[in-house]
């Protein structure tokens, strides 16, 4: 019985598998004259796909199966490749925004410190005959920043767990609105959108507080729930209290301050509301950017690990497929 030359020629010149089976039926794969391994696996895929689609009549059913196996392996590789390049750029963008947010936080700190100190020294407390309070949830519209928004909403939900009737909520940022509207929709009096894309300005803070003052809601006290920036990897969810002018006038140590009349207290109250809102917006933005940076870092590390694991699996599968293919070819040729 003769033996046949069994030649598989790919359309692209870079890969040629020539198999010359010998008369003895069993021959180890080492007798194969030459197989040039492809430089990248994508070449392998292209070769094989174009070969399997060619009108060449030599396709046996086993080669089709091997072709399908190769295609699924290539799919994995093609999915994995783009992830590598986009890793560095997303982290760099987050880091740049964080640097800017931290820079803008520094001059904003005195605004918050000054107003908070006034309420502290004058020992202003919530009015007892006006239990209504305004709660401002200081978050933003953008996600992928870890537990930033959910920690604010958890804090508010825990506070209003018993009784939500005496609170009016203002959701600064879509993320807090989305989380609070499920259970506390009845208490929400306003939502503020387009927060977080551009850095907050004092005018933003002023408009939010003007809305509260003009809303006609009679409140005895208020608070802004925000994330205070501690370090790049940590932040605290805190409350910043504010009070209406009759609460200020009823403050115990208000007499410490000279030359206060109703007009001055009213004006200062309005101004301190805007200052506190501005301060909490800046703190919140800085916490959010730092949290986003750490979250992106963790995400890209996880993605990197996954890419490495998948690459190993891919290579092993590819080698197994090639070995199986060779064995089939050899045994097929030997049977002829």
């Amino acid at each position: 019985m003769g033996f046949s030359k069994f030649l598989i020629l790919s359309p692209l010149p870079c890969k040629v598998i020539c198999v010359f089976p010998s008369p003895s039926s069993k021959r180890s794969p080492a007798s194969i004259s030459g197989t040039s391994t492809p430089s990248t696996s994508s070449h392998l895929c292209r070769d094989f796909l174009s070969f399997s689609l060619s009108p060449a009549a030599h396709l046996s059913s086993s080669q089709c199966i091997v072709g399908h196996r190769r295609c699924s392996v290539c799919q994995v590789h093609q999915d994995v490749q783009p992830g590598d390049s986009s890793r560095a750029s997303t982290w760099a963008a987050a880091a740049a925004k964080y640097a800017r947010a931290e820079r803008e936080l520094k001059p904003a700190r005195p605004y918050g410190a000054g107003a908070a100190a006034f309420y502290d020294k004058a020992e202003v407390k919530a009015l007892e005959d006006k239990p209504q309070q305004v709660i401002v949830a200081c978050s933003s519209d953008r996600g992928l920043c870890g537990a930033i928004h959910s920690s604010i909403c958890k804090h508010i939900k825990a506070e209003l767990a018993g009784d939500a009737s005496k609170a009016a909520i203002i959701c600064v940022g879509d993320k807090s609105r989305a989380q609070l509207q499920r259970t506390l929709a009845g208490s929400i009096i306003a939502q503020v959108g387009e927060v977080g894309r551009k850095p907050a300005t004092f005018e933003d803070a002023g408009r939010i507080m003007t809305f509260i003052l003009n809303s006609g809601y009679e409140f005895g006290s208020g608070k802004i729930v925000y994330n205070k920036f501690k370090t790049v990897v940590s932040y605290d969810t805190l409350e910043m209290p504010f009070y209406p002018s009759d609460a200020i006038n009823a403050g115990e140590k208000i007499a410490l301050y000279d030359s206060l009349d109703a007009d001055v207290v009213q004006s200062y109250m309005e101004y301190s509301l805007a200052s506190l809102m501005f301060y909490t917006l800046k703190e919140g933005a800085c916490s959010e950017q730092s949290s986003r940076m750490t979250a992106m870092d963790a995400a890209s590390k996880n993605a990197g690990e996954m890419i490495d694991k998948l690459t190993l699996t891919y290579n092993r599968t590819r080698q197994a497929v090639i070995t199986g293919e060779l064995i089939e070819i050899i045994s097929g040729a030997a049977a002829v």
Partner: protein, 55 residues
């Protein structure tokens, strides 16, 4: 009663107008730096009875 409060403004709005006047009075390059701190991009939507009021 100050003139601006009599006109219906509150202190926040009054100081915002004054700040805008100061920014416009600045010289370059301080003027362009200050212009970055101006402007407001937020949108406030009122809610009533658990739903936003569509305008």
């Amino acid at each position: 009663m100050t003139f601006w409060r009599a006109a219906g403004l509150n202190y926040i709005q009054y100081s915002a107008i004054a700040a805008r006047a100061v920014r416009q009075a600045l010289k370059e390059p301080m003027k362009s730096e200050a212009a970055k701190r101006e402007g407001s991009a937020i949108r406030i939507i009122k809610w009533k009875d658990g739903k936003a009021i569509k305008e």
